[in-house]
């Protein structure tokens, strides 16, 4: 019971840290938590420039205690098991997988991870972030920089509809 509560709280803190990261990275974005984006769950969703700009979608991958980031990379490099795979079809300009953990370890970057993160045509790369919960204040580190995917009418219409129908968790109100 306590374990599950702590896990839930840890994930909540990680979401807040990711929100802060996106507030600083973007320009006056609208940010939503636990979004249902085109039928897919997105932990943190940000729409840049007051809700009229690019869409950034983040999905978290929590690590079990004792498991470090190097283990996550082994998972990411295996296409059949990688959480990155599910994210390929998500309609958004920027996509991130955020590994959430509290065990600091060093890692060797696996080139297969970079390969798996790329769009088939090379336009777009899924970014990898690490949310470090080992310190009192959670922090977000960029492991692999996200690159922009192609835009589409579908993404723009989804964003317009989402902004009109939902209340942002964080925004600058006019």
């Amino acid at each position: 019971m306590i374990d599950s509560l702590m896990k839930k709280q840890d994930l909540g803190r990680a979401k807040n840290a990711l929100q802060d990261y996106l507030i600083h990275k973007l320009l006056i974005p609208k940010i939503y938590m636990d979004a249902n984006w085109n039928g897919m769950p997105v932990d943190v969703l940000a729409i840049d420039r007051a809700g009229v700009g690019d869409v950034h979608a983040v999905r978290m991958v929590p690590l079990e205690p004792g498991i470090g980031i190097s283990a996550a990379f082994i998972l990411f490099a295996t296409p059949s098991q990688s959480p990155i795979e599910e994210f390929r079809s998500l309609p958004s300009h920027y996509r991130y997988v955020a590994v959430v953990g509290s065990d600091q370890d060093s890692y060797e970057f696996n080139p297969a991870v970079v390969w798996n993160s790329l769009a088939e045509d090379g336009v777009g790369r899924i970014g990898i972030l690490y949310v470090d919960l080992s310190e009192d204040e959670p922090s977000v580190r960029v492991i692999l920089k996200a690159e922009r995917f192609r835009s589409s009418k579908e993404i723009v219409e989804l964003a317009d509809h989402y902004v009109a129908e939902h209340t942002a968790n964080w925004e600058i109100r006019e």
Partner: protein, 136 residues
Amino acid sequence: MAAVQVQHFLGRARDFLKGMDLLKDDLAEFKFSPALLGIHGAISYCDALRVGLGSGKVSSDDHQSATGDLKSLLASRRFDRPQGADRLGKLLSKKSRIAYAPEATREDEIKQIIQDAERFAAWAEAAGKSLKIEGW
């Protein structure tokens, strides 16, 4: 041609706003810089909107008439949320004081300028898209 100018002013506006954003968390060290960047960001957003709405009067020294010009351009397009433009007048009235006045400026006044600049930017971004301004 107007679309190129819109993108030029828009690029400036977003650049200034991002600069303000980076400095606003450290008001003990940087007070006037984020405020002035916020004001200039608002001016550039206004210029982008005015050029995009067909104004040929945009120049570097006509800021005082900018609010009135923007409001009449918005009225001519029957824009339904013109109130956002009022914030620009408020920001412009602070520009000289922030840039030149010798007296001290309170931190809450700086915070208010930053908040007004952010709110004006949010309004301008939404207005530019909603008005389907070419180059936005």
